[in-house]
Amino acid sequence: MQIAVSGGKGGTGKSTVAINLAVALNNLGIDLTFADLDVEAPNDHLLLGVELGSEEPVMQFMPKFDYSKCTKCRKCAEVCEEHAIITLKDGTPFLMPNLCSGCRACEIVCPVPGAIQEAFRVIGHTYVTETPYGFTLVTGKLKEGEERSMPLVVAAKRKAQELQEGILFVDTAAGTGNTVSKAVEFSNLLIAVTEPTPLGIHDTELILELGNLMEMPTWVVINRSDLGEKERVYELADKYGAEVVAEIPYSENIVRSYVEGKPVVLTEYPEARIFKGLAKKVLEFLGGGE
């Protein structure tokens, strides 16, 4: 069982909804493992008020040429879809490490055993954090200057799957490219968090399209529901067969708990009820699905 929280536009409240829903689910007795797959800007630990736990580097393959064996046939450069290998006039290959995706296509086509050797570079880290809320948080964090977030999303998601107890609960990055679809892939439920501004609505349509393409049941949460035209979100959800399951009005209580790193669902503020209600709805969904 896997649940993903996404949203298209940045800053709509994905992480706020994700951490509060996870805490509320856990309080209902649901086991889960939380994966923060927003590897370019991971923040769930800050919202949960925890320090990142044990760190592990994510190593990515890159070719190391043994020039004493290389026959300068240029096959490695020809096959590299990222154009990360350039060749001199005589065919001597050179790697531009920042472009290398670590796919090993060069190694596969190299006709001389040992001419391409394995080297690795660190492209980021995964962190495993035991939270005081009863679940484990797995965080992926891309190193600054690295361009490709896909390998890190894959590594962090695999790590979370290894440790998975109960539901795998995924928080994704902003956007709707293939790294978001990788994070969302295999979810039994996609929860799209949006705001009812024209910008939020525009980007929500993209994430609903992704939900449809991936054939997954999709829910919509309207955050800051009083700051815009929420009717348009309902119309859009209708068009894509998605259900609007919650409205969260703009709230200073949420802002306060956000900056303090204390999930609002654990407070006495009235907003806590919204997340508790949402958790119950997820529970019903899980019950119905089995």
Binding site: G8, K9, G10, G11, T12, D38, E40, A41, N43, L46, L47, V79, E81, S101, G102, C103, R104, A105, I108, V109, L142, E144, G145, E146, E147, R148, S149, M150, P151, V154, R158, A173, A174, G175, T176, G177, N178, V180, S181, K182, E185, E195, T197, P198, L199, H202, D203, L206, E209, L210, L213, M214, R224, L227, G228, E229, V255, Y258, V259, G261
Partner: protein, 296 residues
Amino acid sequence: MQLAIASGKGGVGKSTVTASLLYFLKDEYGLIAVDADAEAPNLGLLLGVDDWEEERDHIGAKVARIETGSCIKCGICMERCPYGCIYIDREGNYVVNELTCEGCNVCGLVCPVTGTITLEEVRSGVVRKATTRYGFPIISAQLDVGRPESGKLVTEEKEWAKRVMEELNLEHMIVDSAAGIGCQVIASLGGADAAILIAEPTPASLSDVQRAYRVVQHFREPAYLIVNKADINPGFTGLVDWAEREGIPILGEVPYDGAIPRSMSLLKPIVEAFPESDASKALKEIAERIKEEILG
């Protein structure tokens, strides 16, 4: 000059600030705007663009396809795919999930049956151009859902923008980058003459803007900071302290203002829709400082 706006974290106000700065700078300079968030392009909306005068498909992404008829179901492709994008469908066939494929062709290279796995070029999105009602042009892009390489779309946008700048003899390119620090942001910051970072005084935004700043440092570009929603977290000094420590000039602070979401609904920059709002006044001062200290 090329000026890039970045923030690391999404939703802190990049596009709002960019639209407002464009509005204030348009009369004095020849400008072109680039919306470099191809996965969630919003700048055009904020500038009221509803009609794109020119639109080009961006072909360039590649995805693998498996020909079921000749597949011998050995499973090597699935085993070797670096990103776990090949799976077995309900009928027992090996298929590529096109929404996650990176197009590296490893599956094609390891497949023992020639011609069974092919790498096909697909459309990854569109790049488009419009003239805003304010007179300056905007280049925008939209990645198709689930496609790789949004950074390449941004690179193409900037190349198009450079050609337009030459044609129309424009002076400055203002690039509104995506959230995050990955390929789109690197393509936005690469080649810029200066970066303006936007952040709000929260631990999450601080953490993300610090990461964006490290990317700016890779390119050795001068950086400036705008503090947005400056009053939402009284007592939090981490952001300003960090900027002072790093020697990043703070161009100004913009208060949280309910007029901002209202201006979005009107599809206008806040400084045009509500010029007397507190946020607009702050943005006006920031635009003046940008004229003096950056654009000259």
